[in-house]
């Protein structure tokens, strides 16, 4: 048995290597000077410094801790009582309860998350009427008529999936407990309550502790259930990371994780040493060697028994409680301070300093969220879970939202900066009378390619369907764009409603798909892939290309000769927005020339603000001391002749949308 020790440890070691390799990489790259998770640019602590300035990460970390702590505390208490209760039930009742108790653990997370989402949505729909009725006959408490997903629902969800873990850990302890213990305690004069605290609780304490620990771990690590139940205004760390992984994970997240990891590691090491010491003591006792007790420890223990020691113990316990409560209160305050404006935009679509500036200027907290795509945003809104004031959809989605009556008209008297918007971007087809929108950015869609991987001039969409580039093309993961490009290549309009034409476009994509041309379907993942030189072609937005260029100079951008799509993203306010006036302030702030300049500089998308667009090259030179490459400026703000080749999307009729959807699904299968 001992001979095989080495081989056995080697195998276990291999398993750990597999488990830890990616983690070491994460930690390693948290010290990277560059912002890539693949290319090492030298040692630096800048991400740790930036961590404390990154609001998104800090806030989501606070939310995660708050929800996990609260959920663990509630679930531990509730689960312990429930376990005692369940254990006292007769078998006839106990078994079905235990089966239902197992359900959330047996069920896939996504089913739990989705079913809770449906419950909350259904409840919120009905709540309006109940609240109105409650408010109508009493005026003591004003019930809000509109509820949304948020911290509350997140907490309920976490408590729900945590309780079973606590029960599962406490129940075996109860089963092991001598049934006569409580009776013995009562026989010796304890009341039932005293018996509970003096006998039951100490007996099942290890179970409670391990249950709480597991619940806390599960809460912190959970992503799926939070994703479905947190709604728009609340984000846990997992959700933040998820939205980042789609684009580019900032090493700030690596830094957070490294810190958490180290903290847990230290706790585990301490615990390990303690346990090892206890084991050694036990072994010594078993072998009848005199146990050498640390005299200091012994004295300390004796001191704890004295009245003063007891007092100290109580004080320490009270202090811990205070710390816990104040942390909770602080975190709550931190995550829910008011007044507020809820904004939903796209990933990396704003210079985040602007948010801070706006907050400093107006005292309004900006709750800045991101959605993945227009379609995803539409889903969020349809769910009724979203609590946004300002959204920034693209043209065609705006017209759909207007059509469905989901947008509120803007009060342009509160938005003086609207004046500065170039007339080219006013009264566009999606909002002909310009009652609902203030443009945010505009741009073109084109081919991004890696010069080193291509040896010909690229000026046509044909390259995307060419077997020559098998495995090197990234298909845009969005039916409208993917089919739109194919339509353009085939010489049709991107807004065609002709099923034949659309099917033809589908066939084109499908054929290329089957020939293995596409490496994958991506949205924001395109950044990482193209920057790392992991694919030769992608279709994406001009502004994003310029961001990528900063990290990989081999990338080129072209609007193909067949033409393309040009788009406008505009700020709109949702119907019944809870913070309408704040929303107006935000929109006005963002529409200013200064904001537009800085946004343009940060995200490389062209501004609709005439002044800003014209000023930009000059401003750039002022800022960086060097002239802006005119080629770059031209890609960002496409000249009119390019725009003439391009078409703007309009909202397609429902039947066409359904066709798009069906074909898209068929493609993915």
């Amino acid at each position: 048995m001992k001979k095989n020790r080495f081989g056995s440890r080697f195998l276990i070691g291999l398993c750990f290597l597999f488990l830890y390799l990616p983690i070491f990489l994460l930690i390693f790259f948290s010290f990277n000077k560059g912002d890539s998770s693949a290319v090492w640019k030298g040692f630096s602590l800048r991400w740790y410094a930036e961590l404390f300035r990154n609001r998104l990460v800090l806030e989501s970390l606070a939310t995660t801790l708050l929800v996990s702590l609260l959920a663990t505390a509630i679930a531990t208490v509730a689960g312990t009582f429930a376990a005692i209760g369940i254990y006292s039930l007769t078998k006839k009742w106990r078994d079905p309860v235990l089966v239902v108790n197992d359900l959330p653990m047996m069920n896939a997370d996504i089913v739990t998350g989705v079913s809770l989402l449906l419950l909350f949505v259904a409840f919120f729909r009905g709540w309006g009427a109940i609240a109105a009725w409650l408010n109508s006959w009493q005026s003591l408490i004003q019930f809000p008529t509109r509820l949304t997903l948020g911290l509350g629902t997140l907490l309920i969800a976490h408590v729900s999936f945590n309780i079973p873990y606590v029960i599962l850990n406490v129940a075996p302890r109860l089963r092991q407990m001598d049934a006569n213990l409580v009776e013995a305690a009562q026989d010796l004069g304890c009341t039932w309550i005293q018996a509970f605290f003096k006998v039951i609780l100490p007996e099942i304490k290890p179970g409670i502790v391990s249950g709480a620990l597991i619940a806390f771990t599960m809460s912190v690590d959970d992503f799926v259930i939070s994703y479905f139940t947190a709604g728009s205004a609340t984000q846990t760390l997992s959700m933040t990371i998820y939205s980042m992984t789609k684009k580019r994970v900032t090493p700030v997240v690596n830094a957070v994780s490294t810190l958490i990891f180290l903290a847990v590691l230290i706790l585990l090491i301490i615990n390990n040493i303690r346990e090892a010491r206890q084991d050694k003591l036990a072994a010594k006792r078993a072998s009848f060697e005199p146990v050498r007790v640390d005299p200091r420890a012994e004295r300390f223990r004796a001191w704890l028994g004295t009245p003063r020691g007891k007092l100290a113990r109580r004080v320490a316990a009270a202090a811990l409680c205070v710390v816990f409560v104040s942390t909770t209160v602080f975190l709550t305050a931190f995550t829910t301070s008011r007044p507020v404006v809820n904004v939903c935009s796209w990933g990396e679509y704003i210079d985040e300093d602007l948010i801070d500036e706006f907050e400093a200027e107006t005292g309004i907290r900006v709750n800045y969220q991101t959605a993945e795509s227009n379609e995803a945003l539409y889903s969020l809104l349809s769910n009724g879970g979203a609590d946004y004031d300002v959204v920034v959809p693209s043209d065609y989605m705006i017209s759909q939202l207007i059509e469905e009556g989901r947008l509120e008209e803007l009060d342009y008297s509160q938005i003086p900066n609207f004046e500065k918007i170039d007339d080219r971007f006013k009264n566009l087809p999606y909002d002909p009378e310009n009652k609902y929108t203030v443009p945010y950015t505009w741009g073109t869609v084109g081919i991004i390619y890696n010069e080193t991987m291509v040896d010909e001039e690229i000026d046509s969409w044909a390259a995307l369907y060419d077997s020559k580039y098998a495995g090197q093309v990234l298909l845009i993961n969005n039916s409208r764009d993917a089919f739109g490009i194919a339509l353009k290549y085939l010489g049709y309009s991107v807004n065609t409603t002709d099923a034949g034409e659309i099917t033809q476009a589908y066939e084109l994509v499908r054929d290329a798909y089957e020939r293995g041309v596409f490496q994958g379907k991506v949205m924001d993942e395109v950044f990482q892939t193209m920057e790392g030189g992991n694919a030769a072609f992608a279709t994406y937005y001009a502004g994003d290309y310029l961001s990528m260029l900063e990290n990989n100079e081999d990338l080129r951008f072209v609007v193909p000769k067949e033409g393309s799509n040009w788009f406008v993203d505009a700020m709109c306010v949702l119907k019944d927005a809870p913070n309408y006036d704040n929303a107006m302030k935000w929109i006005n702030f963002i529409a200013s020339t200064d904001s537009n300049l800085r946004n343009m500089d940060y995200i490389w998308y062209a501004s609709p603000n005439k002044e800003a667009l014209e000023m930009y090259p000059e401003w750039y030179e002022e800022q960086y001391g060097e002239a802006l490459d005119p080629e770059i400026y031209e890609i960002m703000a496409a000249p009119q002749e390019v725009l003439d080749r391009c078409e703007m999307y309009v909202c397609l009729p429902k039947a066409t949308r359904a066709l798009y959807n069906d074909l898209w699904i068929k493609l993915g299968l």
């Binding site: 290890p206 391990s210 036990a282 006792r285 078993a286 072998s287 009848f288």
Partner: protein, 394 residues
């Protein structure tokens, strides 16, 4: 005469610097019922495990039928074990537990030197299992699950499971320890019967001296990793080698004495006739007087005179504690003497047993702090260890 089957030669066993067995030399004969007897921690279980093959001695050799078997794994030894608390397989029923060993293909060496793995036929397994269940009186329990059996029944399954493999030696590790008093007595008879019926060697480990005396052909008394005495139950009881054996087996009053001459021993400065000899003149010795060998007589008639300090009624007799010149004796007698009365005692020459002085001299045989469970209380090792083991689990 039965032949030698197992021999331990110069066996020493140490665990982490603790020596559990010290220079053990012993042999076991075929077809005998032998008991290793001693207090917990004396090394008897370790010895059993060495024979079973679960432990390899640190130094020394183990022979089976003349062949050295130190490195033969348990599954190749013609030895089977009945484990403490039985170690029955909870996932198998009674029948399958018993059939377990039979279902495993055995390597058989033929005369021409060829070896082959042989699997028993279903029918043979079936007949052997049923036969064995009959031997242990468990017919009809075939399908029962282990959890549904009583302690005694589990014990029988464990025995059947081991014996069905037709071992040459059956090792029993405290087989009756988990049973209640009444059942224990029955099983003692039962085990003896089975041993005679099967005609194989049983090596039994126990700390219960009564059990050892009742069942065994040979008793091996051990303490602190050393064999103290080997002999028939009668020898061990009547001719203990040292104070430890005398005290551990039955009740004994052990007093210091001096051998004045052959067959003359002096205790309490008084000379008595005895049957022992072969000591040097005036050699200090330990003298054992069993409580039942003392007759109470009137004070005047007594060879020694003392005061009764306590009397306990035991059914057949009274346990009477008598103080002789500050040394307390236990006397078992059917006569009742009230506490405080002065009595005299007589001891016949065959009532004395004289032993050479040993390291145990002076440690045992005084009933000053007499209590019924003296032996058990004196035995804290096992309890402590078990509590540790039963501690935490996830």
């Amino acid at each position: 005469m039965s032949k030698e089957l197992i021999r331990l030669k110069d066996v020493t066993m140490t665990f982490d610097d603790v020596t559990v067995l010290k220079d053990i030399n012993i042999y076991f004969n075929d077809k005998e019922f032998l008991t290793l007897l001693g207090p917990s921690g004396c090394g008897k279980t370790t010895m059993l495990r060495i024979i079973g093959g679960f432990q390899t001695p640190t130094t020394g050799d183990v022979f089976f039928d003349g062949e050295r078997i130190n490195d033969v794994p348990p599954y190749r030894r013609q030895v089977n074990t009945v484990f403490q608390k039985y170690a029955l397989f909870p996932h198998l029923n009674v029948y399958e537990n018993v059939a377990f060993g039979l279902r495993i293909p055995r390597e058989t060496t033929y005369e021409n030197g060829k070896t082959e793995k042989v699997k028993l036929s279903r029918d043979e397994i079936d007949s052997r299992v049923r036969e064995m269940l009959e031997v242990v009186s468990l017919k009809g329990f075939e399908r029962r699950s282990i959890a549904s059996l009583s302690g005694g029944q589990q014990q029988r399954v464990a025995i059947a499971r081991a014996l069905v493999n037709r071992p040459k030696v059956l090792l029993l590790d405290e087989p009756l320890g988990a049973l209640d008093m009444r059942l224990r007595k029955d099983m003692q008879q039962e085990l003896k019967r089975i041993q005679q019926q099967m005609g194989i060697t049983f090596i039994n480990v126990t700390h219960d001296q009564e059990e050892a005396l009742a069942m065994s052909d040979t008793v091996v008394v051990m303490n602190e990793g050393v064999i103290q005495q080997i002999g028939t139950p009668e020898d061990i009881y009547n001719e203990p080698k040292n104070a430890f054996v005398a005290d551990f087996i039955g009740e004994s009053n052990i007093v210091d004495g001096i051998m004045r001459a052959d067959r003359v021993v002096e205790i309490f400065n008084r000379r008595f006739a005895c049957l022992d000899g072969g000591f040097e003149k005036d050699e200090p010795v330990d003298v054992v007087i069993r409580p039942e060998d003392v007759d109470i007589v009137s004070e005047a008639e007594g060879q020694l005179r003392g005061t009764v300090t306590s009397v306990t009624f035991k059914g057949v007799h009274y346990d009477t504690i008598v103080d002789f010149y500050g040394f307390k004796w236990l006397i078992q007698t059917t006569d009742y003497c009230p506490v405080g009365s002065r009595i005299g005692i007589r001891i016949d020459p065959d009532g004395f047993h004289v032993m050479k002085k040993s390291k145990y001299s002076g440690l045992y045989g005084d009933y000053s702090s007499y209590s019924e469970e003296y032996d058990e209380i004196n035995d804290p090792t096992l309890l402590d260890v078990e509590e540790e083991g039963a501690g935490d689990e996830e």
